[in-house]
Symmetry: C2
Subunit: 196 residues, 2 copies
DNA sequence: CCGACACTAGACAGATCTGTCTGCTATCGT
DNA sequence: ACGATAGCAGACAGATCTGTCTAGTGTCGG
């Protein structure tokens, strides 16, 4: 079931840090950063507890590393996917295509940043990473809207962010990717109206 | 600071059950159902622990009662607010006005159902109440879209739900009610296009 | 007057969680 | 060959959480 790669003679076993991060990613995202305890993470990673604390300092440090890694991979995933589109319009709508693909996966559980924020104190380390992630998304939509020739890129970006967030919520709560197609259609209509 | 009503000679002190529900509502919504412990709830309510367990059976029972009460009050709030509008179009957009008012409150912390879902096991009691709440919202938008003369009420409702969810997320994560006005504008445009 | 009932205060058991510490093993650069 | 480093296994302390239990107080209907 798990996608463990077959024993590759060149690539050795990942480091303890990487295995911890992979285990944290899977468990934290599926069940929540607060619900999952340290013992479950180290058991899933096959790593000693002392190794976790020497690598990340605390559970908060591990949560922060988990979210920063999510942020980094999300940026790479979207930017890479957008390269295959030729027109600014397709690139902008392509952000919703990437989200639709994610939302169709059975392991999709909504936005990891919002989820972590919902079970964390409002002044903790989680909010800072969330703010960075949201600023990046808004900036991405603003840039794409400008390149696509929107009259008011910031205003269009604000609307697109609402659609993006709503898709994520709907896909999780309704266990259905239907929201993604609805949001993409609205985004296309908004873009056409903003560039006409 | 707290809005405790002055000693009204007619209204006696609320029952222990009501005080527990009020304390759970405040603490669970502000800090999360998993983060807040039983001891904090009973201390805030001024109630003995045995009373909580005799009234709600378990913490899960209290969480369920908290969410059901939220669901009940949300329906009443929206239906009451919609009575003041005369046209079907104003009633449909009025749902976003109610949300905008909520999102502008400093104590707004997003959708209580999504928040509780994000920190609960996926097969627990939380999901059932969430499903009921989402079905009600979708049905409300479908009814309003039909009354407003939309050609495809279900399709329009799906788009409006995305906008509604996205507004809630944006207002919480960005600590700003700007998403509400953006969503209302998009909803108005969608409605006009669907009834033209 | 009295018994049922609702409630309070707080101790307690058992589980779970974070974080530390000790002791051991294997690998690698010099 | 050897010291440094990374990692493993697991005990342990201290805090916190849910849920139960005992014992006592006040109130109200009959």
């Amino acid at each position: 079931m798990s996608a463990a790669s077959p024993p590759n003679p060149v690539a050795p076993r990942p480091s303890a840090r990487d295995r911890l991060l992979a285990a944290a990613d899977e468990l934290f995202y599926a069940q929540g950063v607060h619900t999952v305890g340290i013992d479950r993470v180290i058991e899933h990673a096959g790593v000693a507890k002392a190794t976790l604390y020497s690598a990340f300092g605390s559970k908060d440090g591990l949560i922060r590393a988990y979210l920063e890694d999510r942020h980094r991979r999300r940026r790479a995933r979207i930017l890479t996917a957008l390269e295959r589109f030729d027109t600014p319009r397709d690139r902008l709508l392509g952000v919703f295509d990437v989200l639709a693909e994610l939302a169709a996966s059975p392991s999709f559980r909504g936005c990891p940043f919002y989820n972590a924020s919902a079970e964390s104190p409002p002044d903790g380390v989680v909010q800072q990473v969330c703010d960075e992630n949201r600023a990046w998304t808004r900036g991405l939509f603003t840039d794409l809207a400008r390149e696509a020739g929107a009259r008011d890129p910031e205003a269009l970006a604000a609307q697109l962010v609402v659609l993006y967030d709503g898709t994520s919520v709907g896909a999780r709560m309704d266990r259905s990717a239907a929201a993604a197609t609805a949001a993409r259609a609205v985004a296309a209509a908004l873009l056409d109206a903003a560039t006409a």
